[in-house]
């Protein structure tokens, strides 16, 4: 079945109020082109479920698309705090449902495996537990575990390395994006390159998730920028620093969005605004 779509058609599959899971993490395999298109299309009231993430969450929050974030770490690691996320929580305009990485990823895995919950160890003694009445302590043979409920995204946004038109997706690097794709009701994918089906069938051990999980797939070369794509291009550290500088104030961030999202209405135009061929070539690994 043909799942090919344009970037714009792919983003249109996101509906107001959707619960999003997002591939990649801080600076790798983040579906940024897709997220910028979601912002252009003015989606609202999104809920986001992530484990550890940075710019993907921050830009959606800064653009006013998000009502609630479930996550364990939202930040830019050594580069700083997430400016829009931080501001929104401090000002009370964003609900942050904070938990721990493995509790969230196990919740997503429970959904991926069709289970109502999964057991994990840990969490005891942390104030996080006071905020999660839905986590149930359970004792088996004297051993205490915590049962964490399934977390069910309505949509997964994924950026991969390559896919065929049937939506068989190959993602390089050390991710667990198979889990979020399997957990979600709809899976919207961008890839660096659409390849012939035969190419996927020559390398089935590299396939991250099968086409029957994919709702739509769009080609978006450098679609993770300013994040990177393992094996192809590095993340754009200078752009990340520019983003963080802009994000220090709401006005500064508004200018960033104008320049890189609203006034660059296509992915190609975004890449031009971000430095064009010269810049993207410089990022090649």
């Amino acid at each position: 079945m043909d799942k090919l779509a344009t970037l714009s058609q792919a983003a249109e599959l996101v509906r107001d109020g959707d619960v999003l899971a997002i591939s990649g993490s801080f600076f790798e395999s983040v579906p940024m082109a897709l997220i910028r298109e979601v912002i252009r299309q003015g989606k609202r009231d999104l809920k986001i479920i992530v484990s550890a993430h940075g710019i993907a969450v921050d830009i959606l929050v800064g653009a006013g698309c998000v009502r609630e974030v479930s996550g364990a770490y939202i930040g830019f690691e050594g580069y700083g705090l997430a400016p829009n996320f931080r501001r929104a929580v401090e000002q009370g305009t964003l609900e942050f449902n904070e938990s721990a990485c493995f509790a969230i990823s196990s919740g997503l895995r429970a959904a991926a495996w069709g289970l109502p919950f999964l057991p994990i160890k840990g969490l005891f003694g942390s104030d996080l537990l006071l905020r999660h009445a839905e986590y149930k302590p359970y004792t088996w043979d004297g051993e205490e575990v915590m049962l964490v409920p399934a977390l069910k995204p309505t949509v997964a946004l994924v950026h991969g390395r390559r896919a065929d038109s049937a939506g068989n997706v190959q993602i390089a690097g050390a991710g667990w994006d198979e889990v979020i794709a399997e957990a979600a009701d709809r899976v919207i994918v961008t890839v660096e390159e659409i390849v012939p089906e035969e190419e996927i069938r020559r390398t089935p051990e590299r396939t991250t998730f099968p086409g029957f999980l994919t709702t739509a797939v769009a080609e978006a070369p450098y679609g993770a920028h300013p994040a990177g794509s393992p094996g192809l291009y590095d993340f754009d550290e200078a752009h990340v620093l520019e983003y963080l500088e802009a994000g220090k104030t709401s006005d500064g961030f508004r200018s960033y969005l104008n320049r890189y999202v609203y006034e660059a209405p296509t992915h190609d135009q975004y890449l031009e605004a971000a430095g064009g061929v010269k810049r993207i070539f410089a990022l090649r690994i």
Partner: protein, 253 residues
């Protein structure tokens, strides 16, 4: 070269002190945003702990040739014996395969509780919304022992009680796994009975008064307080030329 170095910077001292907490043959992990431990692990491996195995979000026992200020970065899988990922790291820890872990936070209190979540009295409307603790609340129960690293030893970072417990330190239901706290001024541990923080050694050139002035509670002071073993000349040379010529360790200070 094997003797103590005479010329070293605070970041080099801290990296070296963290490296010294590790033993040969251990399996060690670090959290996100943890460039100082990332370098400390590689330094330990290059010196006294050649069989030390680092397990992180990207790979097992990698040989990175470069770094950025991020821990989920393909370079951290370079030369690994196996690729890894977030789920595998937590599963290995839960299975008891991780001996030691490095964590940090914005606050750590007298009982070793760590706050990486929010500063201020109202968690819902915090003064500073921090990143969140990633896996701390889980891993602190599943790894063998915990080493806290804190690049800025300051009163407000070492309060009597943290504003929010992301990682529980001394807690009746929690097996004691808090091993060391290494800051830019000193090394500390926890008194077994009370679970209270105790001075272990003072970094070269630092005074007890300086430490007390910069700590928001009364540290337990043992009878003898040695000077932290300074980096060796070999460590400093390795750090500057081979382990971290980029100087990525400085970014965390």
């Amino acid at each position: 070269m094997m003797g103590p170095a005479t010329d070293f910077t605070p970041d080099e001292l801290m990296v070296s002190a963290l490296a010294h907490t590790l033993r040969d043959g251990e399996r060690v992990m670090h959290g996100v945003a943890s460039m100082i431990p990332v370098i400390a692990i590689q330094l330990a491996r290059a010196t006294h702990a050649p069989g030390l195995i680092c397990v992180n979000l990207e790979g097992i026992d990698a040989r990175p040739s470069r770094y950025a200020l991020t821990t989920e970065y393909f370079a951290l899988a370079e030369g690994a014996t196996k690729t890894s990922n977030l789920l595998r790291l937590f599963e290995y820890a839960q299975r008891g395969l991780i001996d030691a872990a490095f964590f940090s936070g914005a606050q750590i209190d007298r009982l070793g509780n760590v706050n990486t979540s929010a500063i201020g009295e109202d968690y819902e409307r915090p003064k500073v919304r921090l990143t969140g603790g990633a896996g701390q609340a889980i891993l602190c129960h599943t790894v063998g022992r915990i080493i806290i690293w804190l690049p800025r030893h300051e009163r407000n970072r070492l309060p009597e009680s943290v504003d929010f417990i992301t990682l529980p330190g001394h807690h009746p239901n929690v097996k004691r796994r808090m091993d060391r706290v290494v800051t830019n001024l000193a090394v500390m541990d926890f008194e077994p009975q009370s679970g209270a923080m105790r001075l272990v050694s003072i970094h070269p050139g630092v005074t007890i008064e300086e430490i007390q002035d910069n700590t928001g509670f009364d540290l337990i002071l043992p009878d003898t307080i040695p000077t932290t073993k300074p980096p060796t000349g070999e460590e400093i040379t390795l750090l500057r030329t081979r382990v971290d010529p980029q100087g990525i360790r400085k970014q965390g200070m």
